[in-house]
Symmetry: D2
Subunit: 295 residues, 4 copies
């Protein structure tokens, strides 16, 4: 029995993703929103959205960004406007699964109403950790570009020791920076110490920023406050990796003349191929488990 | 107001622990079971167990091993026999706190019955992570002693990626070994990959042991089974760090002629001073928080 | 007795260099070719070239690039044309020392004729090693920018294990790349192995390029030949760090459709401040030793 | 044409060495001084020294220690007394090559007189670097054994940055120690900095020993003098890896109550198999080149 997958929209990462999905046995892939792609995929169906028979689909792959609040999806390789209405969702088969990077109220609502499973790829621990690698490399690239000194010997404060913070701290230390990491839990503080970084309890952050050249935030909450910013040296620079709107008081940084940069979507920018492969590996794995369950 | 602490028994680690506790302000420390100690502590009370007024104590520090199933405690530096009966526990003040490394049914029961708080130091995430450092160093020492080849370039399989497994894997990789780590969760497998080790799903362990020189177990469950052992090369060697009785089928290993070593209590053996300091830091921190709460 | 230094021309690195030299005691610094500088230096003499009394100078600092073949120097922060003729050199005091990054026939000739010491900063082992750090970071930045995959897990071949090759190999390995290094001497091959990289004898390079994603050349001789290039995978990319014209057969790479990039002057581009400090440290050290000798 | 090799004496390393040489094609190996070996080698000739026809030999492999000053060789696996007299050397073929680890006046003299080539394996850069790996691991083992604190977070001073010093510094840093390295040349100091260690100019050593827990000497000259030792903290410990008699003022250390250990022959002790393989690889390579030249 053949498995039917539709990819609806997506960015550069999706080219690798699609390439990888092609390796699946007994699978038919329909591409919607890739009509402007210069180099086509041999053996795949470029389908018009209107012509897609969604009831036949076993899996729908949405862009990493999901939909906007009205169901419109981002199509980098097409001029088409594609809207996934609640009616369209109702047309999906009950057993269908919908992949997206992140969700929002709209997407949550329509998928629930139409009773299809919605899988948030970026929320998965494994995807988040694998993605932390290109994120950290993008961070390194920016640090090299935006400073006139080397990472080697520079003093770096990483705020947060989650999936991204952990990887970022390790990479900067590997390049010879003197890394401090600011975290809440005693477990994190112990691990930070074991790894050779300086562990800073969260409520102490502002006491250490005077001694830091780069401050890298990974916490999705307002944690890089006036207190922390005002002690930074004039050449200090803030990179905020946390999801929009970041965790930095950007206004205050500006006022103080401290450069502060909100860096979004690094994996897709610096390593779309690797990022596409990360997504593909997980989707392939999940589809396989699904199929085994069905049989 | 002075804080009263009694240390009842303990091993080499406790010398450093006591030294550190002496730095606490407004604190009186009574030592029970240290009468054979060659170099005494100046300014501390060597007390006979019978003379200890337990009701006055704010904190009792038991050996890392706690008590045995009848309440006897290990006293490395004394010939005294000390038994902590349920009556003795009843004599403790309600607000007293009892520190131990690990507990057992007996200790759980008497502390609950007498309504005192029992703090298991080795169960704490921070202690476990800090202790993973001397554990890993002890593991390295044993690997160097028990093999006739270098760690550099050797193939090491670490089973388990908890607090100990993580540290052990990192240290062996840092010394140039080719490290694989075997774990269950997708999150662990992703982090293992990020760290540059080879990630092996748990149920695949036996398929990779033929390619490994050292197998290091950190999982406290029977996971190094016949299947895993039988594919080890003849010069392969197993180190089991998991708490007694380890996670290895030692009988089968013996039968197959594979050297298998159960290594216990490494922190206390290879780095009693560091281990004592780790315990002291946590105890001091907890006593401090306690006092703040009381006030 | 005051020491007189003239800085004639130079790029962004020289701003930090000058800042550092200002810390020298009993030193007068004259700046020639910095008239367009927006932020001036307080307390330094901006001097017109014509007005510089070269006979009074103890030290002359030329741009890193030295002069061109007719004695003209590069002045990034000025529109002046400055030519250091042999007559001008004759006007220098015998005991004067001239600092430059690199030399050429012209500069060698005029300094020898006028009997002044010429110090080639970039030829010094310490400068070359310190500079290898920003060079390697620049290389990392380019690798991240010019590929759509991560450095982590990519296969990197470093050609040459001199001062730059050694540092580049270490940094890429630290970021999780699988690094091979190609070198001639048995000593280098042994050290490469000790460091955990794969050691490739020089004459074997072409046998290993089929397995490599990034090829980074650091050897200033034609060593990345057709043989080596033709086995690279289509997505393979060549970075050539060796001094102009590099060590790559760029024509053949182009013909084969392999991207090949000659990357020059990375330290000055990615870390002018650090690079300026490196130069300043050495110049300060040499001036100090000089003064001690004179006394 | 078959190649004839005689192995005369040797220690545990030589078991692996012999095993590896067995893989050479068209080679006959005679073992002299291995009669007490429990597990024999199948297919090799155990020969009595008196019966060895030395004129037929293409290569003679002496113990790593060479001979003593009268030509006696060390035979760990035999009770025989074997003396290599000058007459015996005269009986060797002109084209024969004699391998040894180190030489002495006697060995130099007799080999020169009889006109055979003497190859000092331990003097070779590649062997010295490969051997620095088991040396460093032995050093780690001793550090763990002889201290009551962890290597992690300890302050280590490595004296000398040659083949051994470089490797030792890297390994201790990899285990989380704070490493300083003391060296003479500006090149070494630059590389030490690049590697992330603290670089100490040689003549400054004594100013930094008060801040160090472990002092590891690798310089074969009296460099760890009173000056350096007297500032060590009481718990400080000295390990001297330099060849006999080391580079430490052991008398003064004893007088000051500082533990000081001269550690010899670590590779043969901690990793005889790896060490044997290192020697075998070089001998095989040299025999191969030799044969190619002869043909
Ligand atoms: N810019 C990019 O390209 C990019 C790429 C990937 C991810 N991201 C973003 O980066 C951020 C971090 O991702 P992640 O995967 O590392 O997440 P994560 O694993 O959940 O880590 C978040 C960290 O923030 C800490 N934290 C959360 N709320 C906090 C608060 N109120 N105060 C103090 N600490 C707090 C957490 O500490 P506890 O665990 O102790 O709560 C944890 O250490 C997210 O916003 C994510 O969307 C950006
Ligand atoms: N020898 C010594 O000197 C020494 C020193 C310190 C600790 N230890 C001992 O070492 C062991 C590990 O300590 P730790 O602090 O690393 O503990 P931990 O953080 O709890 O880690 C245990 C690991 O084992 C895995 N695991 C547990 N049960 C499993 C099962 N049935 N099958 C597969 N995996 C399983 C866990 O995986 P999940 O998280 O996915 O469940 C986790 O990765 C303990 O027994 C501890 O007492 C010994
Ligand atoms: N792009 C930039 O921003 C930048 C920055 C700094 C330096 N550079 C340039 O990078 C290059 C390397 O600098 P470096 O400081 O590393 O020089 P280096 O220390 O002299 O190293 C050169 C390496 O090339 C090898 N080599 C030289 N000629 C060779 C040949 N014919 N065949 C094979 N191998 C050969 C040497 O091997 P042996 O030692 O065995 O001879 C050595 O390993 C120079 O051209 C330098 O100008 C560029
Ligand atoms: N214990 C063991 O098991 C073991 C194993 C292997 C080797 N070793 C011994 O370890 C020692 C070092 O071996 P290696 O291969 O590293 O030798 P190496 O490469 O020659 O290094 C020796 C180092 O000592 C420095 N040095 C020499 N004389 C000096 C002096 N008078 N003052 C200051 N520095 C001086 C050298 O500096 P410059 O280069 O600037 O001169 C160099 O850094 C040797 O004695 C060797 O026999 C012992």
């Amino acid at each position: 029995m053949t498995q039917q997958i539709a990819v609806i929209g997506g960015d550069a990462r999706y080219l690798e993703l699609i390439r990888q999905l092609q390796a699946l046995p007994d699978t038919t892939i329909s591409l919607v929103g890739f009509d402007k792609l210069e180099q086509g995929f041999t053996g795949l169906n470029q389908t018009d959205f209107a012509d897609l028979e969604q009831r036949k689909m076993d899996a729908i792959i949405l862009p990493i960004t999901g939909t906007d609040s009205e169901g419109y999806v981002e199509t980098v390789f097409s001029d088409q406007t594609i809207q996934l209405t609640s009616e369209w969702f109702d047309g999906l088969n009950d057993t269908a699964v919908v992949f997206t990077g992140i969700s929002n109220q709209y997407l949550d609502a329509v998928s629930e109403a139409s009773n299809v499973e919605l899988i948030l790829l970026l929320s998965r621990d494994d995807v988040a950790i694998y993605n932390s690698i290109p994120t950290a490399e993008g961070m390194i690239m920016m640090a090299i570009e935006h400073t006139d000194y080397t990472i080697h010997s520079s003093r770096v404060m990483v705020v947060g020791f989650g999936r991204v913070g952990n990887t970022v701290a390790n990479k900067f230390a590997a390049l010879g920076a003197k890394v401090s990491v600011c975290a809440k839990s005693i477990m994190d503080l112990a691990r930070i110490t074991e790894l050779g970084h300086t562990a800073i309890p969260f409520d102490q952050l502002h006491n250490y920023t005077s001694e830091c050249d780069l401050l890298i935030n990974t916490v999705p909450a307002q944690v890089v406050t006036k207190d922390a910013i005002q002690h930074l040296p004039p050449h200090g620079i803030i990179f905020d990796l946390a999801s929009n709107p970041g965790g930095t008081d950007f206004d205050y940084a500006k006022q103080r003349g401290i450069k502060a940069i909100l860096a979004k979507s690094l994996p897709g920018i610096v390593a779309p191929k690797t990022s596409g492969k990360i997504l593909a590996d997980v989707i392939k794995q999940l589809l396989l488990e699904r199929e085994e369950k069905i049989r």
